[in-house]
Symmetry: C2
Subunit: 385 residues, 2 copies
């Protein structure tokens, strides 16, 4: 075989964010060709990847050309329009996850409908187009009501919490102006939020990760504790089985993240993501196979890697941008204080509240690990020192 | 700070081999800018790195220009000529390790001389320029005698074993023709080969990894077992101390690998390398901080990461090229058979005997891990199936 032959497949990832960046990192070890479609050379993945195609990662022409240049197409985000996905598939490209699978992560209405058919526990929900429908729904569930855009959203948001009829009207009117279809969902009274990740290959092999606890503040994931402390084995297994069943039923290829609420009556499904996900960043330093390697193995239809944990607990804390962008100057303190902390930076411009990196800490005691991960992330943000 | 400012340092690595490739991988997490000087776009590191400068990685002009474009210069190999290193340092570049440190990895004569001054145990050795000197040396140590080129070598080799005077004459004559200075060394009767890696920062911080056993066949490292099985604590600590002392005395910045022979009278130093080293590839899946991340932290003068093992044992096996270059087609078997095996490929063209990747397996039982790592590597080479 000459050097001009390409003996390994080329995976093309749509989108140049941090998920593509970390997938590239995993692809280096596998020795596969990894190409990214990024909007700008300063995108997180474009800054480190050897094979960057600049273009519109939601635009038909760029996507079609990009897909043609790759053996397998996969995604850093879920924003590729469905008609474009259909066209790419019809042109013969291997799209993983497929359009038919991906629509359940793109469209909350389809996801809820399908989950209900499958008997998967969900919050009570209803498609709503008029205020009267929301009010009737609130009559059953009580206020506040969670209103979600089925696809996309407006004003940079896709979820709103309406405390009363007046707030609901406002959301509804803006949604109508923006051509956005809404769902009403009950505001679930939960003990905590959980997540499960499962990888599935086209061959049908599955590998499921431990159930994790995710901690959100102001609607942003802040910490993940793997495994979820104090979750009994039976509940954990049930949550894993739910994710497995969903991955099979939706014919997922790649990694599926299932976000869950833990309630008094068991878990209910909040959201789905069909790509590497923030709730799985802990696997980079806490599992035998990271979610990024696993995603690549799955979309390439290679046998999956062991999802086994390599430490009793691993805690991840997201690093959000603060006021002071000089993150690197704070490395010295964080690294000196905790030589076990694993810092992962995304090479993104610092903006307040933006996810710019994460820290993993693995060990025995989840409370200690959480304190250390939080401390490192908060120092890197610039809250201390 | 605008997007046009570069808030993180740029590390430049000289040489586009697999060590640069894996250092790039570690640099992605640290979020530092990593630039590589490679001879060809098909070089192992050049295939995956986002910032590749093509040029002669041993040539004065290209090296000087490259050094100027980076905040810190470091190395994938030890072949940059000393006068060029001197010129780069005189131009004000931060060279880590420095020319003065690096010469002990480049020149075996200087290394032996310095090690002797430091009281570090070495094989008996002598600088030799005439057959009579070799014969006299063999009179003390017995035949065979190991002849080594102080720098470089000829016919692609730098070490020869002379069984008798006639063979020694042949090596000596070819060395003289090629302007190569020779050392004679006793052939050490060893139980096994060991290695220790230590990282040192310019600030003077040190982090030492466990002592490992290295298994060579036909002069090529084939397996590494971390830690070296059955090595008692006292001997292990002494070997680590020896590496620490050498790193301090030679003023190393970066990772230093010390290759050792374990003999009945203790350990003796075989070779030094001042860069990430094959004996440390196990750290990618078996230590909290990989040697590649550690090297970057050291040359950037950041606090070092924990060198702690994350499993009782980790075994690495090199994958050598075989007759059949279709390595990727064999992934499916290796990954299906052992979901815990970590495959690392270098993206290099397959040539018989060439190191094209490695496999790490971590766990409890070194014999089991060794069998599995060997099996995976041998399958990937194409010896089975």
């Amino acid at each position: 075989m000459s050097e001009h032959h390409r003996p390994v497949p080329r995976v093309g990832m749509v989108g140049g964010g941090q998920l593509a960046r970390m997938t590239h990192q995993a692809g280096i070890a596998l020795g596969v060709d990894f190409r990214v479609l990024a909007g700008s050379p300063s995108d997180s993945a474009a800054r480190v990847c050897g094979d960057v195609h600049l273009g519109d990662d939601r635009g038909r022409d760029d996507l079609l050309a990009f897909a043609k240049s790759c053996d397998v197409l996969t995604f850093d985000h879920e924003h590729v329009p469905e008609p474009v996905l259909r066209e790419i598939e019809e042109a013969g490209a291997r799209v993983r996850p497929s359009r038919a699978a991906l629509e359940h992560a793109q469209d909350k209405l389809r996801m809820r409908t399908r989950a209900e058919e499958l008997g998967v526990p969900c919050p009570r929900w209803r498609m709503v187009t008029a205020l009267g429908q929301i009010e009737a729904f609130a009559g059953e569930t009580g206020w506040p009501v969670v209103l979600k855009a089925a696809r996309g959203g407006y004003d940079g948001k896709g979820v709103w919490v309406a405390a009363d009829s007046a707030q609901a009207r406002e959301v509804l009117e803006r949604a109508a102006e923006n051509g956005v279809q809404l769902l009403a969902e009950e505001r679930v009274s939960f003990r905590r939020e959980l997540a499960v990740q499962v990888a599935r290959s086209p061959y049908g092999q599955l590998a499921v990760y431990p159930v994790v606890e995710t901690v959100q503040r102001d609607g942003i994931c802040r910490e993940v504790i793997a495994p979820a402390p104090g979750l009994d084995d039976e509940k954990a297994t049930a949550a894993q089985q739910l994710a497995i069943d969903l991955a099979h039923a939706l014919n997922v290829a790649g990694v599926l993240a299932v976000e869950l609420f833990e309630t008094d009556r068991g878990v209910v499904v909040n959201e789905l993501a069909m790509r590497p996900h923030n709730s799985g960043h802990w696997t980079m330093d806490g599992a035998r196979t990271s979610q990024f390697e696993q995603h690549l193995r799955a979309v390439l239809d290679l046998p999956l890697g062991s999802p086994r944990s390599t430490a009793p607990y691993t805690v991840m804390a997201n690093v959000l941008g603060g006021e002071d962008p000089a993150v690197y100057e704070r490395y010295i303190h964080v690294m000196a204080k905790d030589p076990e902390a694993k810092v992962h930076f995304y090479g993104k411009q610092v903006r307040p509240g933006r996810k710019i990196g994460h820290v993993n800490v693995a060990g025995e005691d989840p409370a200690d690990l959480l304190a250390r991960a939080r401390d490192a992330a908060s120092y890197l943000r610039g809250d201390q020192g």
